[in-house]
Amino acid sequence: MMQTAVQHGLDWPVNAISRVPYALYSDPEIFRRELQRLFYGKHWSYVGLEAEVPRNGDFKTTKIGERAVILTRDLQGGINVIENHCAHRGVQFCQERLGNRKGFVCPYHQWAYDLKGNLKGLPFRKGVNGHGGMPEDFKLENHGLTKLKVAVRNGVVFASFDHSVESFEEYLGPTILKYFDRVFDGRELSVLGYSRQRIPGNWKLMQENIKDPYHPGLLHTWFVTFGLWRADQESQMVMDGHGRHACMISRRNAGGKGAVTDGVQSFKEQMTLHDARLLDIVPEAFWNGPTVVMTTIFPSIIIQQQVNSLSTRQILPCGPNSFDFVWTHFGFADDTAEMTQRRLRQANLFGPAGYVSADDGEVVELAQDGMRQHPEYQTISELGGRDIGNTDHMVTETLIRGMYGYYRKVMEL
């Protein structure tokens, strides 16, 4: 493996976490290792919300890494995650995104599975008129679907291919768990809808993007102007003990002109809205201080609380050079009609066309373009130093360094 990596010019000083070789973003062998160790290894990956499968028999199809999986609520009401390929001869048997079934039947030869992934039966198993059928020693229980380990916390479902993974709570660690519970506090969730985009960039670039408090005040003029995000506002950058997960926490301020806007080319002082409803922001009790908390749970998911807009953003890599980015916008079952409308209006800011996130997809694509052309080159993420640590300001790239510190350990690169 490393052969290829070296071929591709991977030449990475030991312990350098503030410099990342461009080859890491496009090398197919490295990507294969990422799938094995990060997405299929001892990590928890997001699969969905309980609110997406409220009734017994409900299911939702999604992916972990490049593997198709199905989130099901079985007939006893239990939550399961099973792999979406038939144990017989591999058919990805379930296509619908959402549905309700008593079980799954593969179209090719009608092997039948229950919602837990157990093989319940198969045609002609005992033969026909004494002919054929499966061998005597064939046991249904040995040929079920791949079952993943499942963790459900406050309505959010995570799964792992490795059953020896630590508990979800240990995985997040106390700091991140606290912020996870801040949004997911046990109230019933309601799904507002989905947005999907295929971003032609390496999946890690999106993790970096949400571990990067440096860019919002510069790339997203909108944020700056309306004080939703600027370098001079109160904020904390915090990580779990491994540096793999993080929260960017901040509180909006007045906005408008100020020290941090001087010479910031993207700042537009005179900007005002023709229709202010887009920014009709109303504080919510659970905020409990911060107006925004962006949580990155390595490797698969971002949890967004941006004023009244809430979403999970799932990362589904498609090879080293692109990934699908799936947004699930949600609110709470007890939201007023006004609050729901508010969340939907503010949703204009986010997603593939969003005022402050369409451009993230664009720069990720351009970073991939720039990096593919020169694999031997390296990034430099040294804002706020070269080490790793939580901060009470946002003038730092410490969260990115934290992620690569952990990445190098697990990837043995």
């Binding site: 995104r97 959402l98 799904v191 507002l192 809808g193 989905y194 947005s195 999907r196 985009q197 295929r198 971003i199 032609p200 790339l219 003029t221 909108w222 102007t225 993207s266 537009k268 900007m271 809205l273 023709h274 229709d275 409803r277 887009l278 699908d324 916008h329 729901t340 939907l344 209006r345 949703a347 204009n348 997603g351 593939p352 066309a353 005022y355 369409a358 451009d359 997809g361 664009e362 720069v363 694509e365 351009l366």
Partner: protein, 157 residues
């Protein structure tokens, strides 16, 4: 069947609509709508499932103006050209001077030094009203089939 002159007038309106989006100036786009209008770009899955989330959801000409300002002034994006093709337009007079129009649409995108591809494909569910001598869109809902958007959607559809 609706009056032939009205039919031609509506076809001309859509020809102008597409020309504004494909040839510019984008600043002329909001004027094709009524002051209180509904413009939505919606993935078919949300539309079918009755989920309220839209990719873009605007409720007034002011919001359309804000979008154009954003696209032109604040939203960083790679340059691309778009080209609209409409087909199978259906007309219905719902009240005096109010018309429901549906049509299939296809938007071809071309980025610099790349092959042309499909940016968006789907169906318009619109309502037009007569405003003096001209027609304006009171409702334009663009429901797109290709729910997996090729990175980003910057210009209006």
């Amino acid at each position: 069947m609706i009056d032939l002159n009205l039919r031609a007038e509506i076809e001309d309106f859509y020809a102008r609509y597409c020309a504004v989006l494909d040839e510019g100036p984008l600043e002329a786009w909001p004027d094709l709508f009524t002051e209180q209008c509904s413009y939505r770009v919606v993935p078919r899955e949300n539309y079918r499932a009755g989920k309220p989330l839209a990719t873009l959801a605007f409720e007034s000409r002011g919001m359309l103006k804000d979008r154009i300002y954003c696209v032109k002034q604040t939203l960083f994006h790679q340059p691309y050209s778009q080209r609209h093709l409409l087909s199978g337009m259906r007309f219905e007079v719902t009240q005096d001077d109010r018309y429901r129009v549906e049509a299939n649409y296809l938007v071809i995108r071309t980025k610099v030094d790349e092959m042309a591809d499909v940016l968006s494909v789907g169906r318009y569910y619109d309502e037009l009203v007569r405003d003096g001598t001209t027609l304006r869109l009171a409702v334009k809902h663009c429901v797109f089939d290709n729910e997996l958007i090729p990175n980003s959607l910057i210009y209006p559809i």
